[in-house]
Subunit: 239 residues, 2 copies
């Protein structure tokens, strides 16, 4: 019975098929809107009109509403009864909340990694750091931000926990919402190109505990920087 061997590649094939199957109309609509939101084309506070989107996307209202529901549960939209869906405006409490959970999860992942480090598993992290450095060199700070997010997603993936990955994906998506509310992406992302590299070096050296400690300070600094950036933007009169 050669079909029951279940070698590694069979699982990956199954995953790929699942990716293809994932193409229900509402999920594809959600993909489009998700990109628009995370890329910053739809700014926080914007209302998404059903009528308007139905006309543009060429889907029925029911399908669109199902896409709304998907994004709402990812935290990328908020739904107000009889008033419609909006791109959420996160306040300072939300921002510290995001960082709190982020620090909990990411640091715990690194701490639980004691000795389980493997060269090939760090490959995605190498790629992300390189992508960040390359983007920084050409001054594309939005791309730096994207590479940074991917770095942290891959960092968490080292734990091999499906639910942790999902929670992290949601956290990082919401975080991008906040990033779009600040003026200078450079100030926000540039320092972490270097720190990501340092973090990765610690992991390569097998010092998971040291990496966890460094990540704790890293996120602490990042939070302070973000809060400060948003505050100064508000103070300068921008809405």
């Amino acid at each position: 019975m050669a079909t029951t061997d279940d070698p590694a590649w069979l699982r990956t094939v199954a995953d790929e098929v699942r990716q293809l199957d994932r193409s229900s109309t509402s999920e594809r609509v959600a993909d489009v809107l998700r990109r628009r939101i995370t890329e910053g084309d739809l700014r926080p506070g914007t209302r998404l009109s059903e009528e308007q989107l139905v006309a543009v996307l060429r889907v029925s209202r029911n399908t669109l509403r199902e896409a709304f529901r998907l994004l709402t549960h990812e935290g990328l939209l908020v739904h107000l009864l009889h008033r419609g869906v909006f791109v959420p405006e996160l306040d300072e409490a939300d921002r510290v909340d995001l960082y709190r959970l982020r620090r909990t999860i990411e640091c715990d992942v690194l701490r639980s990694l004691q000795g389980k480090l493997d060269a090939v598993r760090l490959r995605p992290l190498h790629d992300d750091v390189a992508a960040g450095e390359s983007a920084a060199a050409r001054g594309d700070w939005v791309a730096v931000g994207t590479a940074n997010m991917r770095f942290h997603q891959h960092l968490v993936a080292l734990a091999g926990s499906r639910r942790t990955d999902e929670v992290t994906a949601r956290l990082l998506a919401e975080l991008r919402l906040v990033f779009h509310a600040v003026a200078s992406p450079q100030r926000l992302h540039e320092p972490y190109v270097r720190r990501n590299r340092a973090l990765l070096d610690l992991l390569v050296a097998g010092d998971a505990e040291g990496a966890a400690k460094e990540l704790g300070e890293y996120l602490h600094d990042s939070e302070a920087e973000l809060l400060d950036a948003v505050r100064s933007r508000h103070a300068s009169g921008a809405r």
Copy 2:
């Protein structure tokens, strides 16, 4: 301008209104199904037929599907394209995954609580422990399980983090799914009536660090117990 003062009670009023607004049809349908699933009336593996439920619940298919979507994102249903929605069957990998994230979050909450303990904030925990002891005394092990879940939810709530609360709610809901897959609820829940009380005592004494340590062992034991219970059930030939 007396209306812009924004005193404390205005915020609570806003919250109450939001609670009232929550009564859309799809959410009420979701409430009904959620109860059925968490109480164990709908066993893992069951398929929920749209046609059938539409007839029973007297709602339209679209509304029912929106309720499905809600529960899917809570982890209480899984959606397979063109095949329908099912009560998920969690495997052993899921079970250890659940406990991994649970341990991360709950322990971190306690650790971050250093010195911030307040008598009134522990009130819900007292109530839950009492409810568990009372239910145990009369042998109602399902009620013990419910009180136990509420205890942990309230424990996490001490951190005051909205997102942490949400993640925990999802985790505990999924956990109940697993509980229904074992034969003896007593063996699963009884030991923790006492341990919840011990945990609460540590918190009352202000020993957050000690409580975090105890909780770590607590969850470790609970996980081992659960895995063992499910394994023995499978070994005994039950499906």
